[in-house]
């Protein structure tokens, strides 16, 4: 894995200066009352979305990602900084002249128009039959063929979002902005729609900026993921790179890593000293992170894990069952951190509270933190 973790620089990919460029953007809201301090939602963000790429803005709620999106759309005037497209500064370009589509969390379909009327809204200037053909094409694309004459009120939540996507894609936007388009849906629907969304964006070759707080969604839909916190960008990278090599502990925590193994102590409790993992003794102070639920108890019969896998000695604190599978809560000896670890399927001679066990991190649940410097 040698991902280019940067991507925030203009020399990213594709032709230089092509597509969206955000430079040192600041969005600040005036205080709610007289004398109340202003709230800085976006604090000096620079990011590029080259033509044809899907970039996810990932961050906890309130981190400023939606404000960044609205500033790009032209709905929020930036306090400082610039938003450009193909090198043209957009400061004076009003929303409707930018050609940027926008999909809201709750669709915001026009209640007084039917499905076809909604999808056709942005298709002014086309002859009637070309418009009808385009509407049919888009409804096919989002998996709702034949829905033309349905009224908006009869649609389910998922169908609404599909129509909203079709409506935004119909005028072939230069850039599609998606503001948590799936977060109002239930889990299984969300996963299915994330796949469909990716497919639709790829099929139409749409450049897109996709805001979400869901890590899986970001990884499913986007080519690159930008992690944002408190108004600042922490890291921009392809999903594989991001999950393997989060730049900081904060990024790793947000991505779901729970346990951080101190640098240079990789194999402290390993009798053979064989599991000094990659990067654990990095001079830059890189550390290993293990995802929640990423540990298993090593049974006496289990084969010794490979050299890249951290192994730790631990003391069992309690036993419990989760989703029908037995697991233990144990305290890692070197780090004094509580983790949960799955028991071997056999279950014979399972450890009880107070027992000493050896835990191994699951394959794929380990990340190297801080291995690369962010610009």
């Amino acid at each position: 894995m040698t991902g280019t973790g940067s991507g925030a620089g203009p020399a990213g990919r594709g032709a230089a200066g092509r597509g969206l460029a955000v430079r040192d953007l600041v969005v600040r809201y005036p205080g709610a009352g007289r004398g109340a301090p202003a709230v800085t939602a976006v604090d000096g963000v620079s990011v590029d979305v080259p033509v044809g790429e899907v970039l996810a803005l990932l961050g906890p709620s309130g981190c400023g990602k939606s404000s960044l999106l609205r500033a790009v759309a032209g709905l929020e005037p930036p306090t400082a900084g610039a938003v450009t497209w193909d090198g043209v500064d957009l400061a004076a370009v009003p929303v409707h002249r930018r050609g940027f589509g926008l999909v809201f969390q709750d669709g915001q379909l026009f209640p007084h128009r039917d499905v076809a009327g909604n999808v056709a809204y942005g298709l002014r200037g086309l002859p009637r039959d070309a418009r009808a053909a385009r509407v049919a094409e888009l409804l096919d694309l989002v998996g709702l063929p034949g829905y033309d004459r349905r009224t908006v009120a009869t649609l389910s939540g998922g169908e609404r979002q599909r129509v909203a996507l079709a409506r935004s894609l119909a005028p072939r936007p230069r850039l599609l902005l998606l503001d948590e388009p799936l977060s109002a849906l239930d889990r299984s629907l969300r996963e299915r729609l994330a796949d469909d969304l990716r497919r639709a964006l790829v099929a139409t070759g749409t450049t897109a900026l996709f805001v979400t707080h869901d890590q899986d969604e970001a990884a499913t839909v986007a080519d690159r993921v930008a992690v944002m916190s408190a108004g600042r960008l922490l890291q921009v990278a392809a999903p594989e790179t991001l999950w393997r090599r989060p730049a900081t502990r904060e990024v790793a925590e947000f991505l779901g890593y729970r346990t951080f193994l101190a640098a240079g102590r990789g194999g402290a409790s390993d009798p053979e000293g064989a599991s000094d993992p990659e990067g654990a003794s990095d001079p830059d102070g890189a550390a290993l992170a293990v995802a929640a639920g990423g540990w298993r108890v090593l049974g006496p019969a289990d084969p010794e894990p490979g050299s890249g896998t951290p192994v730790r000695a631990a003391v069992v604190a309690e036993r419990r069952t989760r989703r029908g599978r037995a697991e233990v809560v144990a305290v890692l000896e070197p780090e004094d951190a509580r983790v949960t670890a799955a028991l071997p399927a056999a279950g014979a001679g399972a450890p009880g509270p107070g027992d000493r066990v050896r835990l191994a991190a699951e394959e794929g649940a380990v990340a190297v933190v801080g291995a690369e410097r962010q610009p």
């Binding site: 044809g52 043209v88 004076a92 009003p94 409707h96 790829v202 070759g205």
Partner: protein, 590 residues
């Protein structure tokens, strides 16, 4: 600036993703982006300024100027400020009696309306039973009746040989209060009921599950939730009671009056402009205070309540409680009485029953009481109402549009708030003051050669001034309820501000505009306070003719007044019924 079209991406997909399509990709056929000149933003600001300036100029000319110059004549008799008028007017016992009567009338009328209206709101809006729609419509009828008609109907009911003549209530204070409650019951029922039917029933259900009796759940949970709507309705009712003109003038004669009728008497009978000016100021103070209370209550109500769609599961009880049903049933009978008496009276000829009074509507009345026939007056009323409605609609929609925006800049936001309040003032300032002020000042405004007063143009204009607040109150809630992101969605799809206005705001507000048309038309048809000053003698409106007929001696003239009242009542109720059909689900409550 780049003028080349975009080239498709090459190899930018993430590993494993399908290859991106070629030049047919999204956005490829768009013209290159160009930054427009700054003039665009300037033009937009100018358009909004114009949208605010037109109604401001209209109300400034036809409302603020007449009112202020009338008040000015009272206080600046020789060009110098002279406030001795206050001392003089308030040293008269008559003034204190009138102010006392106004407050008593307003207070008693409001308390009775609320006490009777809250059970009505429960039965008619919280419960579901066969015929509830018809009953809701029936309850609204008194409210849309012209005030002169309400007065005439109560006279028909209570006079010596009327159906309830044995009560000897004709010309009493009780009769005036009864008429005011008759008129305002619908305000409470509709305002409180509109909230009640959307109130989330679960807090009340939670109270019941915690062991509260129905009565305790109502007192401790439901009533506090309804309080803002009740306060809002009560202040509106107080406003209507305290400024009642036509009803009080017809029923009270010279013995009972309000500040409003007193202004009319002082100006037309005693020609005492100074007293009229003082009373106008007193009334404005009372009215502004009532409006402020209503506004605060409304703002709280919009903020704090959890509402559900009407008819949500569990929101309607299986059967109404007996006590409010009994009260409401009684009120409905009482509401029907004056209407029935009016209809019966209009059909009663000298010694039997017949349509004689209706046939007489084609004449000018006994001993030529009128200058025109009643049908001609009806024609005048309709023509004037069309003009007034168009004017009120234009001005009111512009006001609603401007006031519904929430600009970013704090100064602009504050200006919008001030406009919101300013445009509500005509609701409270005495229509008599407006009418008389217009008569005094608008002869030759801006150096216009023809005398506006004799051209007849002032009547629809002033009626529009009176109707504008109703139009705004009807359309504004709908515009405010539009999610701003809907406009943003239209903008990102390439719709300019004009198209957003037409395609989103106008399309969604269209149904409420239908209701506003009905309100404006009905108000114009029934307007009496200002019209009585401004209508030309040869072009009187129907309410003016009715008032003149009941002032004339002769049973036939009185019968004609009843018949004309029935015609006017049917017309306004019909207009409102038609408008209600256009009312959208989100139509604003009054």
């Amino acid at each position: 600036m780049s003028t080349a079209t975009r080239t498709p991406p090459t190899g930018t997909g993430r590993p494993g993703a399908p290859a991106r399509p070629g030049p047919a990709g999204a956005g490829a056929d768009r013209p290159p982006l160009r930054a427009p000149s700054r003039g665009w933003a300037l033009g937009r600001g100018a358009a909004w300024a114009l949208a605010a300036a037109v109604p401001l100029a209209f109300l400034g000319t036809f409302f603020a100027w007449p009112v202020l110059s009338l008040v000015g004549r009272g206080f600046l008799p020789d060009g110098a400020l002279d406030l001795s008028g206050f001392a003089d007017v308030f040293s008269r016992p008559r003034t204190w009696r009138i102010v006392g009567l106004t407050l008593a009338q307003g207070a008693i009328g409001t308390v009775l309306s609320v006490l009777l209206g809250v059970p009505g709101a429960y039965v008619l809006y919280r419960c579901r039973f066969r015929g509830v729609g018809a009953l809701r419509a029936f309850v609204t009828v008194p409210f849309v009746l012209p005030t002169v008609v309400v007065g005439v109907a109560f006279r028909a009911l209570l006079r010596e040989n009327g159906p309830l003549g044995f009560l000897h209530l004709d010309g009493t204070f009780a009769a005036i209060v009864a008429a005011l409650v008759f008129f305002n019951y619908a305000v409470v029922v509709r305002t409180v009921g509109g909230l009640w039917q959307r109130l989330d029933p679960r807090p009340e259900q939670a109270a019941r599950s915690l062991g509260a009796s129905p009565a305790r759940a109502f007192w401790t949970v439901t009533l506090p939730a309804l309080t803002p709507a009740i306060v809002s309705a009560a202040s509106l009712v107080f406003l209507f009671c305290a400024t009642a003109f036509g009803t009080v003038l017809v029923l009270g004669g010279m013995r009972y009056g309000t500040v409003e009728t007193e202004i009319w008497i002082q100006t037309t009978q005693f020609l005492d402009l100074r007293a009229a000016a003082v009373l106008s100021v007193v009334q404005v103070v009372v009215v502004v205070a009532a409006l402020a209370v209503a506004g605060r209550a409304r703002a709280r109500r919009e903020r704090a309540l959890s509402l559900v769609a009407p008819g949500a599961p569990g929101s309607a009880p299986a059967r109404p409680h007996w006590a409010p049903s009994l009260v409401t049933g009684g009120v409905l009978v009482l509401l029907a009485l004056p209407l029935g008496a009016l209809l019966l009276g209009s059909l009663r000829t000298g010694d039997g029953w017949g349509l004689g009074h209706y046939r007489a509507l084609g004449t000018t009345g006994g001993r030529n009481a009128l200058t025109v026939t009643v049908w001609e007056a009806l024609g005048n009323s309709l023509r004037i109402a069309v003009d007034a409605t168009l004017l009120a609609l234009l001005v009111g929609c512009l006001v609603a549009l401007v006031v519904s925006r929430r600009p970013r800049a704090r100064a602009a936001r504050r200006a919008v708030g001030v406009l919101d309040g300013a445009f509500m003032l005509p609701l409270g300032v005495s229509a008599v003051t407006v009418g008389f002020g217009a008569l005094l000042t608008l002869g030759h405004p801006f150096g216009i050669q023809t005398d506006l007063r004799s051209s007849g143009i002032l009547v629809p204009v002033v009626q529009a001034v009176v109707a504008v607040p109703l139009v705004v109150r009807t359309v504004l809630p709908v515009l405010r309820a539009i999610d701003p992101r809907l406009r943003e969605a239209a903008g990102t799809l390439g719709a300019g501000p004009g198209r957003v206005l037409l395609g989103v705001d106008a399309a969604l507000a269209a149904r409420s505009i239908g209701l506003a048309v009905g309100f404006a038309f009905a108000v114009s048809l029934g307007e009496f306070g200002a019209t009585s000053f401004l209508a030309r003698p040869d072009l009187p409106t129907l309410p003016v003719v009715i008032f003149r007929l009941i002032g004339q001696p002769g049973a036939d003239n009185y019968g004609m007044a009843l018949a004309a009242s029935v015609v006017l009542a049917v017309l306004t109720a019909g207009v409102m019924a038609l408008a209600e059909r256009f009312r959208g689900p989100a139509g604003g409550e009054l």
